[in-house]
C-alpha cells in the first residue's frame, strides 16, 4: 500500500498525463522505491489509479527489467557486460560481486545490458547511481561503502534517496 505521502504523489503523477494509463510506469517506480520491489498488491493498487486491471499492470511492468517482482534487498547492483564492458573487464566485476553477495539478501547483483557508460567502462550502477572505471576490487569497495552508509543510495527504482 502506498503511504499517505505517496498516495498524494501518485495522484499528482496521474494528473500529469492526459490518460491515467500512462502513469503505470512512474507509479510502479514509486511503489518499488517505497517497498523495495513491485508486489502483487502494489500492482493491484496501481491498477486502481490507472483505471485498469491488475493483470494489465502485471503484464506491462513485467516487460521492463527494472521492476523486480521479488524482494531484492536494499541495493540493486547492475553490472554491465555488454560489448564494451565485455572486453575491458565487465564480466570479471560481475563474477566477483555475484560471488561475494550470493547469500547477502540485502544486495541483489544482476547482469545488465549497456548502461550508456562505455566511455569509462567497465561500469555498474548501484540503485541506478553510476560507478565507472571499475575493477573487481573497486566495485566491491563501492558496494561496501553503500552497505556501511558511507555512500547514500537512491531508492531501488532509482528515485531520490
Amino acid at each position: 500500500m502506498f503511504t499517505d505521502a505517496n498516495k498524494k504523489r501518485a495522484t499528482e503523477i496521474v494528473a500529469l498525463y492526459p490518460k491515467a494509463h500512462s502513469a503505470i510506469l512512474p507509479l510502479a517506480h514509486l511503489a518499488q522505491d517505497q517497498d523495495g520491489w513491485l508486489s502483487p498488491e502494489a500492482m493491484d493498487e496501481i491498477a486502481d489509479y490507472c483505471d485498469t486491471t491488475a493483470a494489465d499492470v502485471q503484464g506491462v511492468c513485467s516487460f521492463y527489467t527494472m521492476y523486480k517482482r521479488r524482494p531484492c534487498g536494499n541495493l540493486v547492483v547492475s553490472v554491465c557486460t555488454n560489448v564494451t564492458c565485455l572486453v575491458v573487464g565487465g564480466p570479471e566485476v560481475l563474477e566477483r560481486l555475484e560471488h561475494k553477495y550470493a547469500s547477502d539478501h540485502d544486495v541483489f547483483v544482476e547482469e545488465v545490458e549497456c548502461l550508456a557508460a562505455c566511455g569509462n567502462a567497465p561500469s555498474m550502477q548501484v540503485n541506478y547511481e553510476y560507478h565507472e572505471h571499475l575493477t573487481p576490487e573497486s566495485a566491491e569497495q563501492i558496494v561496501e561503502d553503500y552497505k556501511a552508509g558511507r555512500l547514500v543510495a537512491r531508492g531501488v527504482s532509482g528515485g531520490l534517496a
Binding site: T53, A55, V57, Q58, V60, T65
Partner: protein, 898 residues
C-alpha cells in the same frame, strides 16, 4: 470497389479491406495464426507474409489494406521460404507432443505445418520450459510451453470481452500469457479464448481429454440459454454432448459464446433429469401419464370451464413446442390464460408490436438507448455486440440504468433515473429532442442524437424486476413516438420471443396477431379464444382466489422465477391440479399430479426465435435421456385424447402448420429455414432481402470435427429469395421435409433445388389469396399505464434487481462445470449508505421488506446512487424473496445484526 490481383487473378474488393481477407474470400488461403477476422490485426506471427509488387520485403497480408491496382503473390519461392522459416521458428519452443495434446487432430499449427511447413527442424538446443498446465480460472487451463504468442486470447479478453484479466507477461522469448495471481481469468467469455487458441495452450476443463476430434459428430444449432441464441456447432461422442463451439453468424454472435452457453449443456445428461413419466409421484408408462393428463384437463374444463385452466411457460423449448402448446391451450381447450413470461418480462403487445431492430442495427445506429438489465448478466453476447457498437463503430450509448453494469464504461450519457422514474426521464429526453430540455444531461444526450444520422435503437427490457414494468412501458411509449426509433428486445429467457410469436401470451395468437384476428388460425384450429385471458400474475392470483383450478407448467418454475416468490408459493399451494412438462423436478412442480419428461437442448430439432425475431434451426445431436418426449408431441397426444387430432408426425410438419397460420411468417418454408444461412427474421416478408441461402456448408460441419480455431463460417452465396405465399409454402414443405437433423447438413447439396422450391409459387397457389400480413400484424397502441411510486421511507433503500448469469436455474445447478462459478449473493449499496449503516464492507446485515427478510453480506459499489440497493434475483437470498409485485417499487430496510 477496386481491383486487386492475387496470384494472377484479378478480383474486386472494398478499398481498405485487409488483403488476407480479400484473398480468402476469393479462394486463396494465406496461412495465419494471429489474425482473426473479428479482432484488430496485430501482425505479429508473421505467418501471412506475401509479396506485393512495389513494396520492399515481405509485408504481412493481415495488416495490409488493399488498394486499387495492387498486385500480390502468395506462392512465390520467397513467400514459401518465409512460411517455412516462420513455422520452423514457431516449433523451436513448441513441444512436439501432438499425440497427447488436446488439440491434436484439430490443431492449426499441426495442420499449417503439414501444409506449409519445412520437413524437420534443425533446432538442437534446449527448448524453453514452463511448469505444465496451470489453471488460470476455474474452467481454463494454460500450458505455456505450447503457446505461440499470437495474442489472440489476450486481445479477445481486452478488445472483445472487456475483461483484460490475462495479458502477456515478461518479454521476448520468455513471453507468456498469465493472469494476476490474485485475480483469476473469471470472464463470462473465457471459453472463447480456448476456441480461438491456434494450439493446445488453452484448454477447457469441461472438455479436456473427453474426446478426440475424429470421434466427434457435429451439427449446427443455436444455443438456448438466452434469447440471443448464438449459433454453435454442437458435438457429441458416444451419444453424449461433449462440446459446443461458437459459429460465426454475422447477424448474431460473430462466433462468440458465453461460458454459460458453452458449458451449460451439461445439464442435459445430469442425474437430476426426469427420465420417465410420473403419476402422483410414481413412474408410469407414457399412455398412462398422457391419459391422466388429458383426463385432468377434460374434467377441469367440463366442471369449471376452460377459463379455470391456465398454462405457464413454454419459453424454453422450440417454436414448434410453443406452437403445439398454444394450439392445445387455445385451440383445443379454449383457454387464453396462457403466459410464457413469468412476470419478469414486458407485455407481449409491446414486444411484438413495436418497430423491431436487428442486432446488427446497433452498429449503424445514431444512438443506442439502453433501457435494459445488465446485459453482461442477462444477454452476454448481446453485451459484446453493444460493446462493439460503442467501441468499434463509435455509436453513443444513452443509458437509463440506475445502477452500474457491464457497459457503464462505454456509456456516453448516463441519464441515471431513480428506480421507477425511467418513464419520466424518457419523456424528458423526448422533450429535449423537441427542444425543451429539462436539464443539461438530457440536453447533451439529445444533442448527441440530433448530431448523427440513422436510427435510434432502444434496447428494451426490464432494467429492474423489483418494480412493476409500468415505468418501462411508459418510457417505451414516449420513445416509440420518435420518428426514427427501433426497439431491440432485451427479454432474456431462451425462446421467449419464439413463444410470444407462437401465441403463448394472453390475447395473442401465432404470427403476431391478436385474438381479434382469428381468421388465419381458424383455418386449422378447432376453436380460438375470444376474450383476452390472464397473464402470469393474474394466473397466480387466480390460483389463490380459486378461479384457476388447473395449472399446466411448461418448463416453468414460478417459485424460482416469478419476481414475487411469496405470491408464487401461495398460488402453487392453492391450485388444485398441476400438470408439468419438464426435464427437472423443482419447487413448483413437486406437487404435480402428472409429470411429463421432455427432451432438452441437443435432443430435439425444430426452430427457435431470438430477441431480434430471427428464426433459426436447432438440431438434434443425441437421443433423449430416458424416454423423454418433445413437448409438441406431448401436446398433440393430449389433444388427441381430448378429441382433436393435430395429424402432425414430423417437426417440419409443425413448422409448416405454424407458418400457415402465422401471418408474420408468410413466405417461410421449413426448407428455407433449413437452408438460409442466418435463418430468417420475422415478419419474414419485411426482411426478405436479408435472407441468404447456403451454398455449401458441407465442408465445415460434416461431422468430421469442425475446425474450431477460426470462426466457423458457412460458405454463403446470396440467392434472391422470392417468398412463397402461405399455400405454396405449405406444399413445398411437404416436398422437402426430411429428417430434421439432417436438413442443415444436407443443404450443401441442395441449393438449387431449394431455390426452386422457394421461388416457385405456382399460379394456382398465388391465386388463393392468403391473409396479407401487413393488414393484421400487431402494432402497439402506446398506451402507458400510469406510474405512481410509493413515498420514500427515509430509513429504507429502494431495490434494483436483475438476473445474474450464473443464476439458480437448471442449466447452472445441473452443470458441474459452471455451478461452482456462481458467487454468493450480495447486497450492493453506495459507500455513503454503507457508512450510514456503520458497517464495514462485506459484513452481514439484515434486510427486510413487506414480503420477506434474511441476512446477507453488504458491499459498497462504485456508481450506485445513495438510497438505492442492488441485489440479484434467485436463490435463498435473492431479491424475489423481498419483492412485492403489487407495489410499483420495493423498499427494503437494511439493519445491522447485533
Amino acid at each position: 470497389m477496386i481491383n486487386v490481383t492475387i496470384d494472377g487473378k484479378t478480383v474486386e474488393a472494398n478499398p481498405g479491406d485487409l488483403l488476407i481477407k480479400v484473398a480468402q474470400e476469393n479462394g486463396v488461403y494465406i496461412p495465419r495464426f494471429c489474425w482473426h477476422d473479428r479482432m484488430k490485426p496485430v501482425g505479429m506471427c508473421r505467418m501471412c507474409l506475401v509479396e506485393v509488387e512495389g513494396i520492399r520485403g515481405l509485408p504481412p497480408a493481415c495488416t495490409m489494406p488493399v488498394a486499387e491496382g495492387m498486385v500480390c503473390h502468395t506462392e512465390t519461392p520467397a513467400v514459401k521460404q518465409a512460411q517455412d522459416d516462420v513455422l520452423e521458428f514457431l516449433l523451436v519452443n513448441h513441444p512436439l507432443d501432438c499425440p497427447v495434446c488436446d488439440r491434436g487432430g484439430e490443431c492449426p499449427l499441426q495442420d499449417t505445418t503439414l501444409a506449409f511447413g519445412p520437413g524437420e527442424s534443425r533446432f538442437v538446443e534446449e527448448k524453453r520450459h514452463f511448469e505444465k498446465p496451470i489453471p488460470i480460472s476455474d474452467v481454463v487451463l494454460l500450458d505455456r510451453e505450447r503457446c505461440i504468442q499470437c495474442a489472440r486470447c489476450t486481445r479477445f479478453a481486452d478488445e472483445i470481452a472487456g475483461d483484460p484479466l490475462i495479458s502477456f507477461v515478461d518479454r521476448g522469448g520468455h513471453t507468456q500469457v498469465l493472469n494476476h495471481p490474485d485475480h483469476p481469468f473469471a470472464s463470462y467469455f473465457s471459453g472463447n479464448v480456448v476456441q480461438i487458441c491456434p494450439v493446445g495452450a488453452l484448454t477447457a476443463k469441461p472438455y479436456r481429454f473427453r474426446a478426440r476430434p475424429w470421434d466427434l459428430a457435429t451439427v449446427e444449432t443455436s444455443c438456448g440459454q438466452c434469447a440471443v441464441q448464438c449459433r454453435g456447432a454442437l458435438q457429441s461422442s458416444s451419444n453424449r454432448l461433449v462440446r459446443l463451439l461458437g459459429v460465426d453468424s454475422d447477424a448474431v454472435n460473430h462466433g462468440w459464446l458465453c461460458d454459460k452457453g458453452r458449458y451449460g449443456f451439461e445439464y442435459v445428461h445430469s442425474d437430476a433429469r426426469v427420465r420417465e413419466p410420473q403419476l402422483d409421484g410414481k413412474t408410469v408408462s407414457w399412455p398412462q401419464a398422457l391419459d391422466a393428463a388429458a383426463d385432468a384437463l377434460r374434467s377441469a374444463r367440463d366442471l369449471h370451464g376452460a377459463e379455470s385452466i391456465a398454462f405457464l411457460g413454454g419459453a424454453r423449448g422450440t417454436n414448434e413446442d410453443a406452437y403445439a402448446i398454444a394450439r392445445l391451450a387455445k385451440g383445443v381447450i379454449g383457454t387464453d390464460n396462457v403466459d410464457s413470461q413469468l412476470g419478469d418480462g414486458l407485455p407481449a403487445e409491446l414486444i411484438l408490436g413495436v418497430n423491431r431492430a436487428a442486432i446488427a442495427d446497433l452498429d449503424t445506429a445514431a444512438a443506442i438507448v439502453l433501457l435494459a438489465p445488465d446485459l453482461k448478466e442477462a444477454l452476454p453476447v448481446l453485451h459484446l455486440r453493444l460493446r462493439r457498437a460503442a467501441l468499434e463503430c463509435n455509436v453513443p450509448i444513452i443509458d437509463f440504468s440506475s445502477v452500474p453494469h457491464g457497459l457503464t464504461r462505454e456509456v456516453t450519457h448516463a441519464l441515471a433515473p431513480l428506480p421507477g422514474e425511467q418513464g419520466k426521464r424518457a419523456e424528458q429526453l423526448v422533450g429535449a429532442l423537441n427542444g425543451n430540455a429539462a436539464d443539461a444531461i438530457v440536453a447533451a444526450a439529445a444533442a448527441t442524437i440530433a448530431g448523427r444520422s440513422g436510427n435510434i435503437v432502444v434496447v428494451l427490457g426490464r432494467s429492474n424486476l423489483a418494480e412493476r414494468s409500468d415505468a418501462t412501458v411508459q418510457a417505451a411509449a414516449a420513445l416509440a413516438g420518435l420518428a426514427n426509433v427501433k426497439f431491440l428486445s432485451a427479454l432474456r429467457r431462451g425462446n421467449v420471443h419464439g413463444a410470444l410469436e407462437a401465441g403463448l401470451a394472453p390475447g395473442i395468437l401465432p404470427g403476431r396477431v391478436t385474438i381479434e384476428h382469428r381468421d388465419a388460425v381458424q383455418q386449422v384450429w378447432r376453436t380460438a379464444p375470444e376474450v383476452p385471458g390472464l397473464d402470469a400474475e393474474g394466473i397466480l392470483r387466480g390460483a389463490i382466489d380459486g378461479t384457476i383450478k388447473t395449472l399446466v407448467l411448461v418448463g416453468a418454475d414460478p417459485i424460482a422465477d416469478f419476481p414475487d416468490r411469496a405470491l408464487a408459493i401461495e398460488a402453487l399451494n392453492a391450485v388444485g391440479t398441476i400438470i408439468a412438462l419438464d426435464g427437472f423436478g423443482n419447487a413448483s412442480n413437486q406437487r404435480a399430479k402428472v409429470m411429463l419428461p421432455v427432451t432438452m437442448f441437443g435432443e430435439k430439432s425444430g426452430t427457435t426465435t431470438n430477441l431480434e425475431g430471427r428464426m433459426q434451426r436447432v438440431n438434434q445431436k443425441v437421443s433423449p435421456e430416458g424416454i423423454a418426449m418433445d413437448d409438441w408431441r406431448i401436446a398433440s397426444e393430449i389433444a388427441l385424447r381430448l378429441g382433436d387430432d393435430f395429424d402432425l408426425e414430423l417437426v417440419d410438419e409443425i413448422t409448416a402448420e405454424m407458418i400457415k397460420v402465422s401471418p408474420a411468417l408468410a413466405g417461410a418454408t421449413p426448407a428455407l429455414l433449413a437452408s438460409s444461412h442466418d435463418g430468417v427474421r420475422i415478419p419474414v416478408r419485411e426482411h426478405a432481402t436479408e435472407i441468404k441461402v447456403r451454398k455449401n456448408n458441407a465442408g465445415l460441419l460434416d461431422g468430421e470435427g469442425a475446425v474450431s480455431w477460426e470462426p466457423i463460417k458457412a460458405d454463403v452465396e446470396a440467392v434472391d429469395v422470392e417468398l412463397a405465399t402461405h399455400e405454396s409454402a405449405d406444399e413445398s414443405a411437404d416436398e422437402s421435409a426430411g429428417e430434421a437433423g439432417a436438413a442443415v447438413i444436407d443443404s450443401g447439396e441442395t441449393p438449387s433445388a431449394d431455390k426452386a422450391t422457394i421461388t416457385a409459387p405456382t399460379a394456382e397457389a398465388s391465386a388463393t389469396v392468403a391473409p396479407t400480413a401487413a393488414s393484421v400484424l400487431l402494432t402497439w397502441n402506446r398506451i402507458a399505464p400510469s406510474v405512481s411510486l410509493p413515498g420514500r421511507d427515509a430509513y429504507a433503500v429502494r431495490l434494483v434487481s436483475g438476473p445474474a448469469l450464473y443464476d439458480h436455474g437448471n442449466a447452472v445447478n445441473a452443470s458441474a462445470s459452471i455451478v461452482g462459478l456462481r458467487g454468493p449473493s450480495k447486497l450492493l449499496v453506495s459507500a455513503a449508505d454503507l457508512q450510514r449503516l456503520g458497517v464495514t464492507n462485506g459484513t452481514e446485515v439484515h434486510v427486510a421488506s413487506a414480503k420477506g427478510a434474511f441476512n446477507i453480506a453488504v458491499h459498497a459499489a462504485r456508481g450506485i446512487t445513495q438510497g438505492v440497493a442492488q441485489l440479484a434475483m434467485g436463490g435463498e437470498r435473492g431479491a424475489n424473496a423481498l419483492i412485492d409485485v403489487g407495489s410499483s417499487a420495493t423498499d427494503v430496510r437494511v439493519e445491522t445484526i447485533q
